[in-house]
Symmetry: C2
Subunit: 155 residues, 2 copies
C-alpha cells in the first residue's frame, strides 16, 4: 500500500504520515525499489489506536513514549499498562469536568428561556475550580520531570 492509499484509509494526510514517521510515532516504512514507502495493512491498526490516544488528548510526547515501549518488546508491558491506566484516569476526569460544564450550560441556556423571558445574565451556577484547561490537563497529570523547570506558579 502506498502512502496515498494509506492516507485515504487512515484519514491522515500523507504529510502527516511522513511527519509521524519522522518523529517516531510510526515505524520507518519499508520502501519499494524506487524508495517509496510501501505499507502493510497492519499499520492501520496502530494508526487507529494512535487516533484514540490523540482523540483523548494525549500529547504526542506520551504517544511517543508508548511507541518506544512497544518497540522494546514484551518486557515493557507492565509499564505500557501503567501508562494507559494513568491516561485512562485523566480521560475519566475530563469526562467528569465536561459533564459538570454541561450542567452549567444547561442552566445558562434555560436562562435564555423560550424565546426571551429573563434578562438575567452572568448567573454562575454550580461553581467549581475553573481555568484548568483540559487541553493541558493530561500533560499536567502525566508529566513528571519537565526539562526546564517551570516556576511552579501558585495558581
Amino acid at each position: 500500500m502506498k502512502i496515498g492509499e494509506l492516507a485515504r484509509q487512515s484519514g491522515l494526510t500523507a504529510h502527516t504520515i511522513r511527519y509521524y514517521e519522522r518523529i517516531g510515532l510510526l515505524p520507518r516504512a519499508d520502501r519499494d525499489h524506487a524508495r517509496r514507502r510501501d505499507y502493510d495493512a497492519s499499520i492501520l491498526t496502530w494508526i487507529e489506536f494512535l487516533g484514540r490516544l490523540k482523540a483523548t488528548g494525549m500529547p504526542i510526547r506520551d504517544m511517543l513514549r508508548y511507541a518506544e515501549l512497544r518497540a522494546g518488546g514484551a518486557a515493557t508491558e507492565p509499564e505500557r499498562r501503567r501508562l494507559l491506566e494513568r491516561h485512562r484516569e485523566a480521560v475519566r476526569a475530563r469526562v467528569a469536568t465536561l459533564q459538570d460544564c454541561l450542567l452549567v450550560l444547561d442552566g445558562k441556556i434555560a436562562g435564555y428561556a423560550g424565546s426571551s423571558e429573563r434578562t438575567n445574565d452572568d448567573d454562575a451556577i454550580n461553581p467549581r475550580p475553573i481555568h484548568d484547561d483540559e487541553r493541558h490537563a493530561v500533560q499536567r497529570q502525566q508529566r513528571s520531570g519537565s526539562p526546564v523547570a517551570r516556576p511552579a506558579r501558585a495558581r
Copy 2:
C-alpha cells in the same frame, strides 16, 4: 480590586487577564487615578463562565462572539442562546467520543492482564471513525465561513 488580586481569585495570571482585555474577552477595566486597572468583583462571574467555555474546548474566537453579543444587549439573547446550544451539542458529542475511547482503553489495558499474561498487541476493539481530533471538533462544527477558504480536503 487590582489585577494581582483578580489573578489570585480567578486563577488566571495577570498577563492573561491583560491579554483577554486586549482581545476583547474582558471589558476594558476601569482605571484608578494612576491608570491602573481596578476591578469590581462581578467580573469574576464572567471569568468563571469563560472558564467553562474554555474547559469545554470553545475556541477564543467563539467566546469573543459571545462576548460581543452580550455587549449588544438583550436583543442578542436568542443568538447567544443558539450559540450555547450549538456548543452544548459539540460538548455532548465529545463526551460520547471520549466514552467510546474509554472502552477501547479498557480493552487494551485488560489485554495487558494481571502482571503479564498475553503478548497480544495491536488489537483494535470497537472500531469507529478516528482522527477527528477533539481539539478542533468544536470549531469545525461551529465555524461557518472561514476568512481564507481552506481547500476543503477530501480526508
